[in-house]
């Protein structure tokens, strides 16, 4: 193209510090972060308590469950698929670990719960990866099936841990480490590990390739099915981690505790800027997306709005965020479709 030739030929020239192009570029790449920062500043001015260390650590703890799941789902989405079964799986895993806790002790309960969650991940992975079925429908079916399994397992009863004080299981949901809540550690720890996996390993590269163009990936010798399968295992693993946090925090579980999580998680992932088309996105983006959701909720509550006000704000914010992204790629605000 003509442009590239010019770029290659022209020697480096000092540009003025601020140009229109630079501003546009900054808005395009860091638009969400800038909006996030402005939004934090606005809330801080409106409410004294908002910017306090206490409040921030509260938000970080509150978003830990959604965040932990979202980190796993991000990898599935980058791989070009969806996982709507995480909400049901969260219910199932939490009920399972809480119920088994009193029967066989916390250690074995956690182990069995992880095995069960990974088995669900395997089923998703087999159906989407190896049988190549549409991920939205498969995980929609799994959403329904796991919800049923949870109810069958619990007989429709909610479950509780009898001795809430005398178990180390409380550590995951209620304790602090170096002044930071354990759920926050789990969330951010998983985020860091999976970010490294995604950016520094061959597996991560394959996830991007498979999500970007599954056919080309296969023609390049990438074993697509295995990669997709693994993304579902990761998602199930993260959901199991979230179940430990949730079960430990509540010390009990309702049958439908995870209902609706799949879509809130997806909202966080999308808000962060990971494309549902696959092949692009990142874990840090998702962390930011989840934090924005958390701070919106927290800020509005502090300002005295009812809890459902956050849903209205989320409606607007999520569409604006994705619109900004789409519009910058398109180079114009609106589509030209007639």
């Amino acid at each position: 193209m003509a442009k590239t030739d010019v770029e290659l030929a022209v020697p480096v020239r000092r540009d003025p510090w601020i140009t229109r192009d630079k501003v546009v570029h900054l808005l395009q790449t860091k638009g969400l972060l800038i909006a996030f920062a402005l939004f934090l500043v606005a809330f801080s001015l409106a409410s004294d308590r908002f910017a306090s260390v206490d409040n921030i650590s509260t938000v970080l703890r509150q978003v830990a469950i959604v965040g932990t799941i979202a980190v796993g789902v991000t990898i599935v989405v980058i791989g070009g698929n969806l996982d709507l079964s995480v909400g049901s799986l969260l219910s199932f895993s939490t009920v399972l670990v809480v119920d088994l806790h009193d029967k066989i002790g916390p250690g074995p309960a956690i182990l069995i719960m992880f095995a069960a969650a990974l088995a669900v991940g395997c089923v998703n992975g087999l159906l989407v990866g190896f049988a190549r079925l549409n991920s939205l429908i498969v995980t929609l079916g799994m959403l329904s099936a796991i919800q049923g399994l949870t109810l069958i397992y619990s007989g429709g009863q909610n479950v509780d841990i009898a001795d809430q004080e005398g178990t180390w299981f409380a550590f995951f949901g209620r304790d602090f480490l170096l002044g930071v809540a354990v759920p926050t550690w789990i969330f951010l720890g998983l985020a860091v590990i999976l970010h490294v996996v995604l950016t520094r390993t061959t597996f991560g590269r394959k996830v991007f390739a498979v999500g970007g163009n599954p056919t080309a990936a296969a023609f390049s010798g990438v074993r697509r099915a295995r990669v997709v399968f693994s993304t579902y295992l990761i998602s199930a693993f993260c959901t199991a981690c979230a179940a430990v946090i949730l079960g430990s925090r509540v010390m009990g579980s309702q049958n439908n505790v995870g209902q609706g999580y799949e879509l809130v998680v997806l909202a966080g992932v999308i808000l962060g800027g990971t494309s549902l088309l696959g092949g692009s996105g990142s874990i840090p983006k998702t962390v930011v997306g989840v934090l924005i959701l958390g701070f919106i909720q927290n800020g509005l509550l502090l300002l005295g709005y009812p809890y459902y006000a956050q849903w209205l704000v989320t409606w607007v914010v999520i569409i604006l965020a994705v619109w900004l992204d789409v519009a910058s790629k398109r180079g114009r605000l609106f589509t030209t479709t007639s």
Partner: protein
């Protein structure tokens, strides 16, 4: 308004040169960072076939998209029958009588042939009901005129690519348009179908329709067109009377210099057999195919689309399971059930469709290149970025890849440079056998010669190359030996030096 149809033919002949049917005047279109069209002017007369030529990225499709309302021009004016028009979208274009026959098939596969031909203008009765009787009758007439043997009620998904192209062409005949733009209409057509198409174009000419004909194929342009306009880098480089010019002049305008005559040094003595295929069969795609490729030779595989060429390549590469037959590498029977197996046996495949099969378009050049060799650029699963960079650096220079940086997503590169990334990806795996399917499809003339030279070089360096192509000059010019395929069977094998074009055509037509 007086339309041209009201004049007699004699009047028209006199009138036409003075009052062009379509006048594109000084159109400029800029995309972020790129000036796609720079003050482009073009005239199309009634009843004229005006060929539009240019390398990929020269601005042909942008110009046509401005004409069809997909893009809005920044500056400039379009006049139709002397009146200034503003085409704000495809809907308006259609209303004005401008029809674009797309190169990329623009059909809804689940719908019937008739519904596709009349897409967007289904005959209506009261209350928005479709007049199916009229629809199928009219569509049947159009198919007859095109000499098509399939039914108007067939679903498009059941048609071959060539037949789909005919459906697309049928759209030009729904009502008599003022301007029809054909964008590379013959890419997938057989010679017989081309003849029909040319007849259709001539009959449109007789009805005083102005025709813009975009093509890469010189022979077609010189057969059909009255005038030729050449675009380069978004600007018009000249408009020529077809009768008063020749291929050399047109080519020179197109690429801005004279094309060097191709002379390839053929390897004198090919080495031992690197790839041998015996009795390979797969379902109804191909039967009992046997051939061999020696180290240091280029074997061309020539045949019509649908003859099973690509499928044979895919089977060798482990993407399809054969029913029977064996594949030998360096004389030993190998079992290849997946691409990683093929890669492990030193086989590489540069596939037919770069965008769909060859490249992850959103990924950087570097990451695309290392995708086939992630094992080589990593230790226990950890990527070694400097090793990746080294691969990119080596092949960017070796292939003279023109890309702003290793970071550039391949989607932003031209077709020729995209093909180089695909080649770089495979050369890094140091293959002994390279299968290259349609190496220059959709690539401009300048890059074509470069890629051909590269294929010869690779062979000279000892690689066994199997080149699949549907372009006769390419097969004749680059290969040492030629395999002709007809209906999934190997029809004949030729020595490239002694074969005649007629013999090749007969072999792939089953004669």
């Amino acid at each position: 308004m007086r339309t041209l149809a009201h004049h007699t033919a004699a009047e028209l002949a006199e009138l036409a040169p003075r009052a062009p049917l379509l006048h594109i005047d000084g159109v400029t279109k800029t995309f972020p960072g790129v000036k796609a069209l720079d003050d482009v002017s073009l005239e199309v007369r009634a009843g004229e076939v005006h060929a539009l030529l240019g390398e990929n990225g020269a601005g042909k499709s942008t110009l046509m998209k401005v004409l069809a309302g997909n893009h809005q021009a920044d500056r400039g004016q379009i006049h139709l029958e002397g009146e200034p028009i503003r085409v704000s979208g495809p809907h308006e274009a259609k209303h004005l009588g401008i029809v674009l026959i797309h190169q990329e098939l623009s059909l809804a596969p689940e719908m019937t042939v008739a519904e596709n031909i009349f897409l967007g203008s289904l005959p209506r009765r009261a209350l928005g009901f479709v007049d199916f009787r009229k629809l199928y009758a009219d569509a049947g007439r159009i198919l007859d005129r095109l000499g098509c043997r399939f039914a108007a009620s067939d679903k498009v998904e059941t048609l071959s690519i060539a037949n789909r192209q005919m459906v697309e062409i049928g759209r030009a005949l729904v009502f008599t348009p003022k301007i029809v733009v054909f964008d590379e209409p013959t890419a997938s057509l057989t010679d017989a179908e081309k003849v029909v198409l040319f007849d259709v174009i001539r009959s449109l000419q007789d009805e005083n329709v102005g025709i813009v004909y975009i093509s890469h194929r010189m022979d077609e342009i010189f057969t059909l067109s009255d005038r030729i306009t050449v675009l380069r880098d978004g600007a018009v480089r000249g408009t020529l009377e077809t009768a008063r010019t020749n291929e050399d002049e047109v080519t020179r305008l197109m690429i801005g210099r004279a094309l060097e005559p191709r002379s390839h040094a053929r390897a004198r003595e090919p080495g031992p057999v690197a790839l041998e295929v015996k009795g390979l069969s797969c379902a109804d795609l191909f039967r009992d195919v046997s051939f061999s490729v020696r180290a240091g030779e280029v074997v061309g595989m020539y045949g019509l689309i649908g003859a099973g060429r690509t499928e044979i390549a895919e089977t060798i590469f482990g993407l399809r399971a054969p029913d029977a037959g064996e594949i030998r590498r360096d004389g030993e029977v190998v079992s290849i059930t997946s691409p990683p197996d093929a890669i492990a046996h030193g086989i590489a495949l540069a596939p037919e469709s770069r965008k769909e099969q060859g490249l992850v378009l959103g990924m950087s050049c570097r990451d695309n290149m290392s995708l086939s060799q992630l094992g080589e650029v990593s230790r226990v699963g950890w990527l070694d970025r400097s090793a990746e960079q080294a691969i990119y650096d080596r092949y960017a220079v070796r292939l003279s890849l023109k890309s702003p940086s290793w970071r550039t997503p391949v989607v932003n590169l031209s077709g020729g440079n995209q093909q180089k990334v695909v080649l770089g990806k495979w050369l890094g795996t140091a293959p002994k056998v390279l299968i290259i399917d349609e190496p220059t499809r959709g690539i401009d003339v300048g890059s074509k010669a470069e890629i051909h030279g590269l294929i010869r070089e690779l062979a000279a360096a000892g690689m066994a190359v199997l080149m699949i192509s549907s372009e006769m000059p390419e097969v004749l010019g680059v290969s040492d030996r030629i395999l002709a395929l007809y209906h999934g069977r190997l029809a004949a094998e030729f020595d490239a030096d002694s074969v005649t074009e007629d013999a090749l055509v007969q072999a792939i037509s089953g004669l």
